[in-house]
């Protein structure tokens, strides 16, 4: 790993935050880059759900049982400890961890792993998840990889925030446009009703409101039906009876 590689990865991740952002793709890319940059064997990203339980959202799959190892940590393991304390849990020696986390350690040993590390994803004072790393060679993470790993965890957090922001903004955009559409169709409906009954647009609006109120439907829904579906108001039906 060299400076140029690191810089390239960070630029790559930053770019994905902007164009056609997909959170799951982003997380997968991030875990893959972790394996490359941090000289580990596999990496997994866990996020906490509404009830404060960790869920695996992305993982590299170089190990056949890596997913299971990540999943096991939902209940016990360095990842949970990291999540609860908000502090990194690094350089966990998997040859000596049986007493602390028996089930998890047994599975890790079976997969040939020698060390594991967990780095918190922090958002101000809250811990929202953790970045989990495994190595089948190196017992320690090393200072440089630790620093880089913490930066990758921060980038993961930024990605999550970005996605939430985009989602909220998109909802607002849809609401805004729906309001505009509604204004247009209501004016159009006034015209349609006025023409159908040789009344003024103001009279037509009053009738539209009356119908909507009487039927308990929204003005916009009635207007849309009048304009686009040939819908007749109640007071039009009575005069159009064959």
């Amino acid at each position: 790993m060299n400076q140029a590689q690191v810089a390239r990865v960070f630029v790559e991740l930053a770019d994905t935050l902007v164009d056609d952002f997909d959170l799951v793709d982003f997380f997968h890319l991030l875990t893959e880059r972790c394996v490359q940059l941090l000289d580990v064997t596999s990496a997994g990203l866990m996020l906490s759900d509404d009830r404060g339980r960790l869920q695996l959202v992305a993982a590299t799959s170089t190990l056949t049982r890596s997913v299971e190892l990540f999943e096991l940590q939902v209940d016990e393991g360095p990842c949970v400890d990291c999540f609860r304390s908000g502090e990194p849990v690094v350089d966990v020696d998997l040859t000596r961890a049986h007493e602390r986390w028996p089930e998890f350690t047994a599975a890790a040993n079976a997969a040939g792993l020698v060390s594991t590390h967990a780095l918190p994803m922090r958002l101000r004072h809250r811990v929202i998840g953790a970045l989990n790393l495994f190595s089948d060679r190196r017992p320690t993470l090393g200072r440089e990889s630790l620093e880089l790993g913490r930066a990758m965890a921060d980038i993961a957090t930024i990605g999550l925030l970005n996605e939430r922001y985009l989602r909220e903004q998109t909802v607002l955009a849809e609401q805004l446009q729906a309001a505009l559409d509604s204004r247009v169709v209501i004016e159009q409906a006034k015209g349609v009703l006025a023409a159908r009954s040789a009344s003024t647009v103001d009279e037509a609006f009053a009738r539209l409101r009356r119908h909507a109120r009487h039927r308990g439907t929204s003005l916009t829904a009635v207007a849309t039906a009048v304009v686009h579906e040939g819908f007749l108001l109640d007071d039009e039906r009575s005069t159009h009876r064959p």
């Binding site: 985009l166 903004q169 998109t170 607002l172 955009a173 849809e174 609401q175 805004l176 446009q177 729906a178 309001a179 505009l180 559409d181 509604s182 204004r183 247009v184 004016e187 159009q188 409906a189 006034k190 015209g191 349609v192 009703l193 006025a194 023409a195 159908r196 009954s197 040789a198 647009v201 909507a212 929204s218 003005l219 916009t220 304009v227 686009h228 579906e229 040939g230 159009h240």
Partner: protein, 249 residues
Amino acid sequence: MIAATAPDPATVPLRLVQACCRAVPVSGAALSLMTSAGGPGSLLTASDRIAAAVEELQFDLGEGPGLDAARGGSPVLVADLAGAAGHRWPVFAATAARRGVAAVFAYPLRMGSVALGVLELYRDRAGPLDDAGQAEASACAVLATTLVLQLQSALTAAGPVPLDAPEEARIALADDRAVVHQASGIVSVSAHVGVGQALVLLRGRAYAEGRALDELAADVVTGRVLLDGTGRDHHDRPRDGHGDERDFR
């Protein structure tokens, strides 16, 4: 930031387009919002009457760089409206040129897949935007999108706003063209067409008579003009007593 220090939220859109004019720089700028049908919707604000006219002209004609930018999702930069690029919208280009518009730069406002509207900049002399100008203009478009969504967010802050909300609970528009939409409804009945086609008929009639669309629409609404789609003009006729009895379905 403009938004953070604005004492009156209603003036923020205007201050944004004014700041945009100074920053890019251009002669004038207008912000308009679009409906989901991709048709021009409404003018939110304009820095001067010519910028407002650029927007209004495109609504009247149904063609123009702003519409293309909003629908296509990419900026449409026309450095010389009188040149070859202007041939894409011949009527718009000729009419805008007569009003002193030499160049138009239209930046779409988008959020996700929603085409919210467009920021349109004009200059009174021809010439392209340099790199710095383009960067400024793009930044203004992003700012405008954020601002417009902030306005929407402020409306919903007090709770969900129903679609039928009264005037005060909606974003204030400089011109929402209500009379044109009403006229579209009326013409859809008199000419037995959909409202989309009715708007096309109105535009065609306004252009043929050299009138502003708003004016013709007002006459249609008051009954002074009747369009039945046959091309024959009917003026100053009282509206027929009975609506068409045909089943519209």
